[in-house]
């Protein structure tokens, strides 16, 4: 997994008539976390979605492991997981059922593996309750377990610590640490800097 690299060159993107991304370039290597900071509306979410391929880039290219992502979109997507503001959990299903489905879309996964991931994020106790009955913080913990199960090198996170208390924020930092140590890379849009080992972290301020 180390040796992966995501790079982008000269990205331009318009939202309605606003020129949100103006010639942005970046590169993130295995073992690195890129923190996106900036005021609301600066374009953090837009950039993340553009890197995924959801938003259309007027100009510029994104490269995954030196290959243009447009050449193999599905292969690129199979190597990444994107966690947005609202984790896509169905209220009527349990955390376990939700994650079994999402993980199963990528590869076959055992119930034991899902439960283990949920336990690691502190969601083990309420894994089998309907998501409807969980608090926002509990849902976030369930969603974070999805990151572990995805088993992919690239994590794209939009404000991963939303709704989490201080222990929850430590959890996010710990998960990222483990991911980066194993050679994975991550780009996270944050409002408060994450408590990760500074050597591994770079920052990109979009308001500048």
């Amino acid at each position: 997994m180390s040796g992966c690299i995501l790079s982008a060159q000269n990205l331009h993107l318009w939202r309605a008539e606003r020129h949100v991304l103006r010639g942005l370039s970046l590169a993130v290597r295995g073992g690195e976390l890129l923190q996106l900071t900036g005021a609301n509306g600066a374009g953090k979410t837009t950039l993340l979605r553009a890197l995924c391929g959801l938003n259309h880039l007027e100009e510029g290219q994104v490269f995954w492991n030196e290959r243009d992502v447009r050449e193999d979109r599905e292969g690129f997507h199979a190597s990444l997981v994107y966690l947005g503001h609202e984790p896509p959990l169905k209220a009527d299903l349990s955390g376990l059922e939700n994650l079994t489905f999402w993980a199963g879309l990528r590869r076959r996964v055992t119930r034991a593996a899902v439960l283990e991931a949920l336990t690691r994020t502190g969601a083990g106790e309420f894994a089998q309750r309907a998501v409807r009955t969980l608090s926002a913080g509990q849902r976030r913990r369930v969603a974070l377990a999805g990151l572990i199960l995805a088993a992919v090198p690239l994590w794209l996170l939009d404000e991963p610590t939303t709704n989490l208390d201080s222990r929850g924020q430590e959890l996010v930092a710990a998960l990222l640490d483990a991911h980066l140590a194993a050679g994975g890379l991550a780009i996270a849009a944050v409002h408060h800097r994450l408590a990760i080992e500074p050597a591994r972290v770079r920052e990109l301020n979009l308001s500048a």
């Binding site: 995924c52 292969g75 984790p87 299903l93 590869r107």
Partner: protein, 232 residues
């Protein structure tokens, strides 16, 4: 990470997972499945109210009424095909899953048909009976409505995907879909008419069948394009 990760899920298996999940979700809230059926019964009733209880008249218009009612009920149900998944970010994740979005949407639409089209088909002979149709025609009515509603679900999925996030999406969906659904209506009502008369309805069914094949091969592609556009 795992030693050697298990192989990636195949598109067909992914579609099956989606079908299973959608069915599971629907059965956790079974009341919602009744809405299209109630609407179907209501529309058929309205026709009877408007045209009078004369059995001969009702029997004459029965195929048309059944199909218009089924069409309107299916349209009502189509609004819910993508709505929940669009609102909670599921569609976004489908587009990012590394799986073929076309296959995933094919699965969703198939599940939608099982939840809406099949019950409509089962209920149609009942409404037909109230319109003076002999009970012997029940099987024919069920088969024709089942096949027609399958084509409708697939063609409708394109409209449902296109109107995601549009203003007054419901009415717009009807205007978009109804012209495209005209062939289904034409062949379907003809097939039902023949079934009611006790004659062979094979010819219109074959035409209907070819529309079904065309729609389930091409519609998911168009729907996937429309979904991606809605995510941009």
């Amino acid at each position: 990470m795992a030693q050697s990760p298990p192989p990636l899920t195949a598109p067909l298996a992914a579609a099956r997972l989606v079908i299973t999940r959608d069915l599971m979700l629907a059965f956790r809230r079974p009341e919602q499945l009744l809405h299209p059926l109630a609407f179907f019964a209501l529309v058929a009733t309205l026709f009877a109210l408007a045209l009078g209880p004369e059995r001969a008249t009702l029997r004459l218009i029965a195929p048309g009424v059944l199909w218009v009612a089924a069409l309107l009920a299916a349209l009502l149900a189509l609004e819910f095909l993508f709505r929940d998944d669009s609102q909670d970010g599921t569609l976004e994740q489908y587009a990012l899953s590394g799986q073929s979005l076309t296959w995933l949407l094919l699965g969703k639409t198939a599940a939608h048909w099982v939840l809406t089209g099949v019950p409509l088909a089962l209920m149609a002979p009942l409404m037909g009976y109230t319109l003076g149709v002999p009970a012997a025609a029940s099987l024919g009515i069920m088969l024709t409505v089942a096949l027609g509603s399958l084509a409708l679900s697939f063609i409708g999925s394109i409209g449902a995907a296109l109107t995601l996030g549009a203003r007054r999406g419901g009415v717009l969906l009807s205007i978009l879909i109804l012209p495209l659904a005209a062939p289904i209506l034409i062949f379907g009502s003809r097939a039902t008419e023949l079934a009611i008369r006790g004659e062979s309805y094979l010819a219109p069914m074959e035409l209907l069948g070819s529309i079904v094949v065309l729609s389930f091969t091409l519609a998911p592609l168009a729907a996937a394009a429309a979904v991606r556009i809605s995510l941009e």
